[in-house]
Protein backbone atom coordinates (compact mmCIF):
# COMPACT_ATOMS: atom_id res chain seq x y z
CA UNK A 1 0.00 0.00 0.00
CA UNK A 2 2.82 2.37 0.99
CA UNK A 3 4.55 1.63 -2.29
CA UNK A 4 1.39 2.56 -4.17
CA UNK A 5 1.15 5.90 -2.31
CA UNK A 6 4.83 6.62 -2.95
CA UNK A 7 4.46 5.65 -6.60
CA UNK A 8 1.49 7.98 -6.94
CA UNK A 9 3.30 10.86 -5.24
CA UNK A 10 6.39 10.26 -7.36
CA UNK A 11 4.29 10.48 -10.52
CA UNK A 12 2.84 13.81 -9.38
CA UNK A 13 6.26 15.25 -8.55
CA UNK A 14 8.09 14.04 -11.67
CA UNK A 15 7.17 17.15 -13.69
CA UNK A 16 8.44 19.57 -11.06
CA UNK A 17 11.63 17.59 -10.53
CA UNK A 18 12.30 17.43 -14.27
CA UNK A 19 11.74 21.19 -14.58
CA UNK A 20 14.23 21.99 -11.82
CA UNK A 21 16.84 19.41 -12.79
CA UNK A 22 16.47 19.83 -16.55
CA UNK A 23 19.39 22.22 -16.97
CA UNK A 24 17.41 25.42 -16.83
CA UNK A 25 16.71 25.79 -20.55
CA UNK A 26 13.01 24.94 -20.14
CA UNK A 27 12.74 27.49 -17.33
CA UNK A 28 14.36 30.15 -19.53
CA UNK A 29 11.89 29.37 -22.32
CA UNK A 30 8.96 29.62 -19.91
CA UNK A 31 10.32 33.06 -18.97
CA UNK A 32 10.54 33.90 -22.68
CA UNK A 33 6.89 32.85 -23.07
CA UNK A 34 5.97 35.16 -20.17
CA UNK A 35 7.82 38.03 -21.87
CA UNK A 36 5.75 37.37 -25.01
CA UNK A 37 2.56 37.46 -22.93
CA UNK A 38 3.66 40.74 -21.36
CA UNK A 39 4.49 42.28 -24.74
CA UNK A 40 1.17 41.14 -26.20
CA UNK A 41 -1.09 42.03 -23.27
CA UNK A 42 0.59 45.05 -21.69
CA UNK A 43 2.26 46.59 -24.75
CA UNK A 44 -0.12 45.42 -27.50
CA UNK A 45 2.82 44.12 -29.57
CA UNK A 46 1.53 41.69 -32.24
CA UNK A 47 -0.90 40.06 -29.75
CA UNK A 48 -2.53 37.92 -32.45
CA UNK A 49 0.74 36.08 -32.88
CA UNK A 50 2.67 36.47 -29.67
CA UNK A 51 -0.13 35.06 -27.49
CA UNK A 52 -0.46 31.73 -29.34
CA UNK A 53 3.29 31.47 -29.96
CA UNK A 54 3.98 32.18 -26.28
CA UNK A 55 1.40 29.64 -25.17
CA UNK A 56 2.79 27.01 -27.53
CA UNK A 57 6.25 27.75 -26.12
CA UNK A 58 4.93 27.40 -22.55
CA UNK A 59 3.23 24.08 -23.33
CA UNK A 60 6.26 22.63 -25.09
CA UNK A 61 8.61 23.52 -22.24
CA UNK A 62 6.62 22.04 -19.39
CA UNK A 63 8.53 18.80 -18.83
CA UNK A 64 6.86 15.49 -19.60
CA UNK A 65 4.05 17.32 -21.38
CA UNK A 66 4.62 15.31 -24.59
CA UNK A 67 2.57 17.81 -26.62
CA UNK A 68 5.29 17.93 -29.27
CA UNK A 69 5.74 14.15 -29.30
CA UNK A 70 4.12 11.95 -31.95
CA UNK A 71 0.36 12.18 -31.50
CA UNK A 72 0.61 15.26 -29.24
CA UNK A 73 -1.67 18.17 -30.11
CA UNK A 74 1.13 20.61 -31.00
CA UNK A 75 2.94 18.01 -33.09
CA UNK A 76 -0.32 17.19 -34.88
CA UNK A 77 -0.94 20.88 -35.59
CA UNK A 78 2.64 21.23 -36.83
CA UNK A 79 2.34 18.28 -39.21
CA UNK A 80 -1.15 19.29 -40.29
CA UNK A 81 -0.44 22.90 -41.17
CA UNK A 82 3.23 23.86 -40.94
CA UNK A 83 4.96 20.73 -42.20
CA UNK A 84 3.04 21.00 -45.46
CA UNK A 85 3.10 24.86 -45.60
CA UNK A 86 -0.70 25.09 -45.38
CA UNK A 87 -1.14 27.66 -42.57
CA UNK A 88 1.20 30.38 -43.95
CA UNK A 89 -0.52 30.08 -47.31
CA UNK A 90 -4.00 30.36 -45.77
CA UNK A 91 -2.85 33.48 -43.93
CA UNK A 92 -1.69 34.87 -47.28
CA UNK A 93 -5.23 34.49 -48.68
CA UNK A 94 -6.38 36.67 -45.77
CA UNK A 95 -3.59 39.21 -46.29
CA UNK A 96 -4.45 39.46 -49.99
CA UNK A 97 -8.11 40.07 -49.22
CA UNK A 98 -7.17 42.83 -46.75
CA UNK A 99 -4.75 44.64 -49.07
CA UNK A 100 -5.80 47.54 -51.26
CA UNK A 101 -3.52 47.91 -54.28
CA UNK A 102 -5.30 51.02 -55.61
CA UNK A 103 -2.55 53.51 -54.54
CA UNK A 104 0.05 51.31 -56.25
CA UNK A 105 -1.95 51.07 -59.47
CA UNK A 106 -2.40 54.84 -59.42
CA UNK A 107 1.35 55.35 -59.08
CA UNK A 108 3.11 52.17 -60.28
CA UNK A 109 6.62 53.71 -60.37
CA UNK A 110 6.66 53.44 -56.59
CA UNK A 111 6.72 49.65 -56.94
CA UNK A 112 10.47 50.04 -57.38
CA UNK A 113 10.71 50.95 -53.70
CA UNK A 114 9.37 47.46 -53.09
CA UNK A 115 12.46 46.09 -54.82
CA UNK A 116 14.93 48.36 -53.00
CA UNK A 117 13.33 47.34 -49.70
CA UNK A 118 14.45 43.75 -50.29
CA UNK A 119 18.20 44.44 -50.54
CA UNK A 120 18.49 43.49 -46.85
CA UNK A 121 17.51 39.92 -47.72
CA UNK A 122 20.37 39.40 -50.12
CA UNK A 123 23.02 41.29 -48.12
CA UNK A 124 22.06 39.39 -44.96
CA UNK A 125 22.39 36.17 -46.91
CA UNK A 126 26.01 37.07 -47.63
CA UNK A 127 26.66 37.97 -43.97
CA UNK A 128 25.03 34.73 -42.74
CA UNK A 129 27.20 32.70 -45.11
CA UNK A 130 30.24 34.57 -43.80
CA UNK A 131 29.25 33.63 -40.25
CA UNK A 132 29.30 29.96 -41.16
CA UNK A 133 25.62 29.19 -41.70
CA UNK A 134 24.89 26.56 -44.35
CA UNK A 135 23.40 27.76 -47.65
CA UNK A 136 19.87 26.72 -46.66
CA UNK A 137 20.19 28.22 -43.17
CA UNK A 138 21.52 31.46 -44.64
CA UNK A 139 18.58 31.71 -47.06
CA UNK A 140 16.10 31.04 -44.25
CA UNK A 141 17.73 33.66 -41.99
CA UNK A 142 17.89 36.19 -44.83
CA UNK A 143 14.16 35.71 -45.42
CA UNK A 144 13.54 37.67 -42.20
CA UNK A 145 14.45 40.67 -44.36
CA UNK A 146 11.20 40.05 -46.21
CA UNK A 147 9.54 41.53 -43.08
CA UNK A 148 6.83 39.02 -43.62
CA UNK A 149 6.13 36.23 -41.09
CA UNK A 150 4.32 33.77 -43.38
CA UNK A 151 7.07 34.05 -46.02
CA UNK A 152 9.76 33.32 -43.42
CA UNK A 153 7.83 30.32 -42.10
CA UNK A 154 7.15 29.04 -45.61
CA UNK A 155 10.80 29.26 -46.71
CA UNK A 156 12.33 27.96 -43.48
CA UNK A 157 9.91 25.10 -43.14
CA UNK A 158 10.60 24.03 -46.69
CA UNK A 159 14.20 23.42 -45.62
CA UNK A 160 13.21 21.93 -42.25
CA UNK A 161 11.00 19.42 -44.08
CA UNK A 162 14.04 18.38 -46.13
CA UNK A 163 16.07 18.20 -42.88
CA UNK A 164 18.46 20.87 -44.19
CA UNK A 165 17.88 23.13 -41.15
CA UNK A 166 16.90 22.18 -37.57
CA UNK A 167 13.16 22.32 -36.83
CA UNK A 168 13.85 24.50 -33.76
CA UNK A 169 15.26 27.12 -36.13
CA UNK A 170 11.81 27.58 -37.72
CA UNK A 171 10.49 28.81 -34.36
CA UNK A 172 13.43 31.17 -33.86
CA UNK A 173 13.04 32.58 -37.36
CA UNK A 174 9.29 33.07 -36.96
CA UNK A 175 9.60 34.80 -33.60
CA UNK A 176 12.43 37.00 -34.89
CA UNK A 177 10.42 37.93 -38.00
CA UNK A 178 7.26 38.84 -36.10
CA UNK A 179 9.16 40.62 -33.33
CA UNK A 180 11.05 42.85 -35.75
CA UNK A 181 7.87 43.54 -37.75
CA UNK A 182 6.33 44.80 -34.54
CA UNK A 183 9.45 46.85 -33.84
CA UNK A 184 9.43 48.60 -37.24
CA UNK A 185 8.23 51.88 -35.62
CA UNK A 186 11.27 51.72 -33.33
CA UNK A 187 13.84 50.52 -35.86
CA UNK A 188 13.05 52.69 -38.89
CA UNK A 189 12.80 56.35 -37.72
CA UNK A 190 16.43 56.74 -36.57
CA UNK A 191 17.66 55.31 -39.90
CA UNK A 192 15.28 57.56 -41.86
CA UNK A 193 16.56 60.65 -40.01
CA UNK A 194 20.21 59.60 -40.20
CA UNK A 195 20.17 59.13 -43.97
CA UNK A 196 18.17 62.21 -44.99
CA UNK A 197 18.60 65.94 -44.65
CA UNK A 198 15.90 68.12 -43.14
CA UNK A 199 15.23 69.62 -46.58
CA UNK A 200 14.69 66.16 -48.07
CA UNK A 201 12.34 65.14 -45.25
CA UNK A 202 10.29 68.30 -45.75
CA UNK A 203 9.72 67.57 -49.45
CA UNK A 204 6.03 67.78 -50.32
CA UNK A 205 4.61 65.30 -52.79
CA UNK A 206 1.37 66.15 -54.59
CA UNK A 207 -1.52 63.69 -54.31
CA UNK A 208 -1.55 61.02 -57.04
CA UNK A 209 -3.84 62.19 -59.85
CA UNK A 210 -4.61 58.98 -61.72
CA UNK A 211 -7.84 57.13 -61.00
CA UNK A 212 -7.93 53.35 -61.23
CA UNK A 213 -10.72 51.50 -62.99
CA UNK A 214 -12.33 48.41 -61.55
CA UNK A 215 -11.24 46.41 -64.61
CA UNK A 216 -7.58 47.30 -63.92
CA UNK A 217 -7.98 46.37 -60.25
CA UNK A 218 -9.46 43.00 -61.22
CA UNK A 219 -6.82 42.27 -63.86
CA UNK A 220 -3.91 43.22 -61.56
CA UNK A 221 -3.82 40.05 -59.38
CA UNK A 222 -4.12 37.91 -62.49
CA UNK A 223 -1.19 39.69 -64.18
CA UNK A 224 1.01 39.40 -61.06
CA UNK A 225 0.15 35.72 -60.67
CA UNK A 226 1.00 34.96 -64.31
CA UNK A 227 4.29 36.93 -64.20
CA UNK A 228 5.33 35.15 -60.97
CA UNK A 229 4.36 31.78 -62.42
CA UNK A 230 6.54 32.40 -65.45
CA UNK A 231 9.57 33.91 -63.70
CA UNK A 232 9.59 32.17 -60.32
CA UNK A 233 7.28 29.14 -60.29
CA UNK A 234 8.75 27.80 -57.02
CA UNK A 235 7.30 30.81 -55.23
CA UNK A 236 3.92 30.66 -56.93
CA UNK A 237 2.14 29.20 -53.87
CA UNK A 238 3.06 32.37 -51.92
CA UNK A 239 2.16 34.92 -54.58
CA UNK A 240 -0.75 32.87 -55.87
CA UNK A 241 -2.49 32.79 -52.49
CA UNK A 242 -1.99 36.51 -51.78
CA UNK A 243 -3.34 37.34 -55.24
CA UNK A 244 -6.24 34.91 -54.84
CA UNK A 245 -7.30 36.78 -51.71
CA UNK A 246 -7.01 40.10 -53.53
CA UNK A 247 -8.87 38.79 -56.57
CA UNK A 248 -11.78 37.72 -54.34
CA UNK A 249 -11.83 41.22 -52.82
CA UNK A 250 -11.67 43.29 -56.00
CA UNK A 251 -14.09 41.08 -57.94
CA UNK A 252 -16.81 42.36 -55.62
CA UNK A 253 -19.01 39.34 -56.24
CA UNK A 254 -17.99 37.04 -53.35
CA UNK A 255 -18.34 39.10 -50.17
CA UNK A 256 -18.88 35.96 -48.11
CA UNK A 257 -15.57 34.47 -49.26
CA UNK A 258 -13.80 37.78 -48.64
CA UNK A 259 -15.25 37.94 -45.12
CA UNK A 260 -14.22 34.33 -44.48
CA UNK A 261 -10.68 34.98 -45.82
CA UNK A 262 -10.23 38.13 -43.74
CA UNK A 263 -11.70 36.68 -40.58
CA UNK A 264 -12.37 32.99 -40.02
CA UNK A 265 -9.67 31.50 -42.27
CA UNK A 266 -6.93 33.99 -41.34
CA UNK A 267 -7.80 33.86 -37.63
CA UNK A 268 -7.94 30.08 -37.34
CA UNK A 269 -4.75 29.67 -39.37
CA UNK A 270 -3.02 32.32 -37.23
CA UNK A 271 -4.02 30.62 -33.97
CA UNK A 272 -2.90 27.16 -35.08
CA UNK A 273 0.26 28.49 -36.74
CA UNK A 274 1.22 30.40 -33.60
CA UNK A 275 0.66 27.41 -31.33
CA UNK A 276 2.59 25.04 -33.59
CA UNK A 277 5.49 27.48 -34.02
CA UNK A 278 5.60 28.06 -30.27
CA UNK A 279 5.75 24.29 -29.87
CA UNK A 280 9.05 24.19 -31.78
CA UNK A 281 10.66 26.47 -29.17
CA UNK A 282 11.79 23.62 -26.93
CA UNK A 283 14.52 24.93 -24.63
CA UNK A 284 17.33 22.41 -25.11
CA UNK A 285 17.04 22.72 -28.91
CA UNK A 286 16.15 26.42 -29.08
CA UNK A 287 18.74 28.05 -26.84
CA UNK A 288 21.77 27.82 -29.08
CA UNK A 289 24.36 30.21 -30.51
CA UNK A 290 22.61 30.00 -33.88
CA UNK A 291 19.31 31.21 -32.40
CA UNK A 292 21.02 34.29 -30.99
CA UNK A 293 22.67 34.90 -34.36
CA UNK A 294 19.28 34.53 -36.08
CA UNK A 295 17.89 37.35 -33.95
CA UNK A 296 20.93 39.55 -34.60
CA UNK A 297 20.87 38.92 -38.35
CA UNK A 298 17.11 39.54 -38.49
CA UNK A 299 17.71 43.03 -37.11
CA UNK A 300 20.53 43.58 -39.62
CA UNK A 301 18.23 42.50 -42.47
CA UNK A 302 15.49 44.96 -41.58
CA UNK A 303 17.97 47.80 -41.05
CA UNK A 304 19.51 47.11 -44.47
CA UNK A 305 16.03 46.95 -46.07
CA UNK A 306 15.28 50.41 -44.70
CA UNK A 307 18.65 51.74 -45.82
CA UNK A 308 18.04 50.34 -49.32
CA UNK A 309 14.63 51.99 -49.59
CA UNK A 310 15.75 55.38 -48.27
CA UNK A 311 18.90 55.42 -50.42
CA UNK A 312 16.78 54.74 -53.55
CA UNK A 313 14.50 57.54 -52.33
CA UNK A 314 17.49 59.91 -52.14
CA UNK A 315 18.63 58.95 -55.63
CA UNK A 316 15.08 59.51 -56.89
CA UNK A 317 14.99 62.86 -55.06
CA UNK A 318 18.11 64.04 -56.87
CA UNK A 319 17.03 62.67 -60.27
CA UNK A 320 13.57 64.23 -60.00
CA UNK A 321 14.89 67.62 -58.92
CA UNK A 322 13.50 67.29 -55.40
CA UNK A 323 10.00 66.02 -56.22
CA UNK A 324 10.17 62.68 -54.37
CA UNK A 325 10.43 62.56 -50.59
CA UNK A 326 13.12 59.95 -49.74
CA UNK A 327 11.22 58.93 -46.60
CA UNK A 328 8.71 57.12 -48.84
CA UNK A 329 11.46 54.60 -49.63
CA UNK A 330 11.32 53.32 -46.05
CA UNK A 331 7.80 52.03 -46.75
CA UNK A 332 9.11 49.62 -49.39
CA UNK A 333 8.99 46.72 -46.93
CA UNK A 334 6.24 44.24 -46.27
CA UNK A 335 5.09 45.45 -42.84
CA UNK A 336 1.70 46.64 -44.08
CA UNK A 337 0.28 49.19 -43.31
CA UNK A 338 2.58 49.95 -40.39
CA UNK A 339 5.52 51.13 -42.52
CA UNK A 340 3.27 53.42 -44.60
CA UNK A 341 1.74 55.01 -41.51
CA UNK A 342 5.20 55.51 -40.09
CA UNK A 343 6.33 57.39 -43.21
CA UNK A 344 3.22 59.58 -43.03
CA UNK A 345 3.89 60.36 -39.36
CA UNK A 346 7.57 61.08 -39.95
CA UNK A 347 6.90 63.26 -43.02
CA UNK A 348 4.19 65.17 -41.17
CA UNK A 349 6.53 65.73 -38.23
CA UNK A 350 8.96 67.70 -40.43
CA UNK A 351 6.39 69.49 -42.59
CA UNK A 352 2.89 69.98 -41.21
CA UNK A 353 1.53 70.38 -44.76
CA UNK A 354 2.96 67.09 -45.92
CA UNK A 355 0.66 64.13 -46.62
CA UNK A 356 2.70 61.19 -47.81
CA UNK A 357 0.25 58.43 -46.90
CA UNK A 358 -0.99 57.52 -50.40
CA UNK A 359 2.56 57.44 -51.78
CA UNK A 360 3.74 55.43 -48.80
CA UNK A 361 0.81 53.01 -49.20
CA UNK A 362 1.84 52.48 -52.82
CA UNK A 363 5.44 51.78 -51.78
CA UNK A 364 4.24 49.56 -48.91
CA UNK A 365 2.01 47.38 -51.10
CA UNK A 366 4.96 47.32 -53.51
CA UNK A 367 7.02 46.05 -50.58
CA UNK A 368 4.48 43.28 -49.99
CA UNK A 369 4.72 42.15 -53.58
CA UNK A 370 8.50 42.70 -53.57
CA UNK A 371 9.09 40.56 -50.48
CA UNK A 372 7.06 37.65 -51.81
CA UNK A 373 8.68 38.04 -55.22
CA UNK A 374 12.18 38.06 -53.66
CA UNK A 375 11.39 34.83 -51.78
CA UNK A 376 9.92 33.31 -54.94
CA UNK A 377 13.02 34.28 -56.95
CA UNK A 378 15.33 32.87 -54.25
CA UNK A 379 13.52 29.52 -54.24
CA UNK A 380 13.58 29.33 -58.02
CA UNK A 381 17.30 30.19 -58.16
CA UNK A 382 17.96 27.52 -55.50
CA UNK A 383 16.14 25.02 -57.71
CA UNK A 384 18.23 26.14 -60.66
CA UNK A 385 21.39 25.58 -58.60
CA UNK A 386 20.21 22.07 -57.72
CA UNK A 387 19.85 22.88 -54.00
CA UNK A 388 16.06 22.50 -53.88
Amino acid sequence: MTDAFLGGLRALSEGGVALVTGGGSNLIMIAVACVMFWLAVAKDVEPLLLLPIGFGCLLANLPLSELMHAGGVLKTLYEFGIGNELFPLLIFVGIGSMTDFTPLLANPRLLLFGAAGQIGIFLTLLIALGLGFSKEEAVAVAAIGACDGPTVIYVSNLFAGMERIPTAMVGALAVAAYSYMALVPVIQPPIMRLLTTRKERETKMPSPKGKVSKAALIAFPLVVTIITGIIAPKGLPLMGMIMLGNFLKVSGVVPRLVKASENEIANIATLFLGLAIGGTMYGPQFLTRDTMLVFALGLVAIVLDTVGGVVLGKIWYWLSGGKVNPLVGAAGISAYPMAARLVQTEGHRWNKHNYLLMHAMAANTGGQIGSVMAAAIMLSVLKGLGIL
Partner: protein, 46 residues
Protein backbone atom coordinates in the same frame (compact mmCIF):
# COMPACT_ATOMS: atom_id res chain seq x y z
CA UNK B 1 30.24 26.15 -55.44
CA UNK B 2 31.77 28.01 -52.49
CA UNK B 3 29.65 29.91 -49.98
CA UNK B 4 30.93 33.22 -51.39
CA UNK B 5 30.07 32.26 -54.98
CA UNK B 6 26.64 31.13 -53.80
CA UNK B 7 26.02 34.38 -51.92
CA UNK B 8 27.16 36.50 -54.83
CA UNK B 9 24.97 34.52 -57.25
CA UNK B 10 21.96 35.00 -55.00
CA UNK B 11 22.72 38.71 -54.61
CA UNK B 12 23.09 39.39 -58.33
CA UNK B 13 20.47 36.98 -59.74
CA UNK B 14 18.11 37.30 -56.79
CA UNK B 15 18.13 41.06 -56.51
CA UNK B 16 18.29 41.48 -60.29
CA UNK B 17 15.43 39.01 -60.72
CA UNK B 18 13.31 40.77 -58.10
CA UNK B 19 13.96 44.12 -59.72
CA UNK B 20 13.23 42.71 -63.18
CA UNK B 21 10.02 41.02 -62.05
CA UNK B 22 8.75 44.17 -60.34
CA UNK B 23 9.67 46.19 -63.42
CA UNK B 24 7.60 43.79 -65.53
CA UNK B 25 4.70 44.20 -63.11
CA UNK B 26 5.07 47.99 -63.34
CA UNK B 27 4.86 47.75 -67.13
CA UNK B 28 1.87 45.44 -66.70
CA UNK B 29 0.12 48.01 -64.50
CA UNK B 30 0.84 50.76 -67.04
CA UNK B 31 -0.71 48.63 -69.77
CA UNK B 32 -3.69 47.74 -67.59
CA UNK B 33 -4.45 51.34 -66.72
CA UNK B 34 -4.02 52.28 -70.40
CA UNK B 35 -6.35 49.54 -71.64
CA UNK B 36 -8.86 49.96 -68.83
CA UNK B 37 -8.97 53.69 -68.09
CA UNK B 38 -11.23 55.04 -65.38
CA UNK B 39 -14.24 56.63 -67.02
CA UNK B 40 -16.15 59.38 -65.34
CA UNK B 41 -19.60 58.48 -64.07
CA UNK B 42 -22.57 60.39 -65.58
CA UNK B 43 -22.72 62.44 -62.38
CA UNK B 44 -19.03 63.38 -62.68
CA UNK B 45 -19.49 64.33 -66.36
CA UNK B 46 -22.21 66.79 -65.38
Amino acid sequence: MTAFEFGLTMLVIGMGGTLGALFLITVGIRLLTAFFPQRNTPEEKK
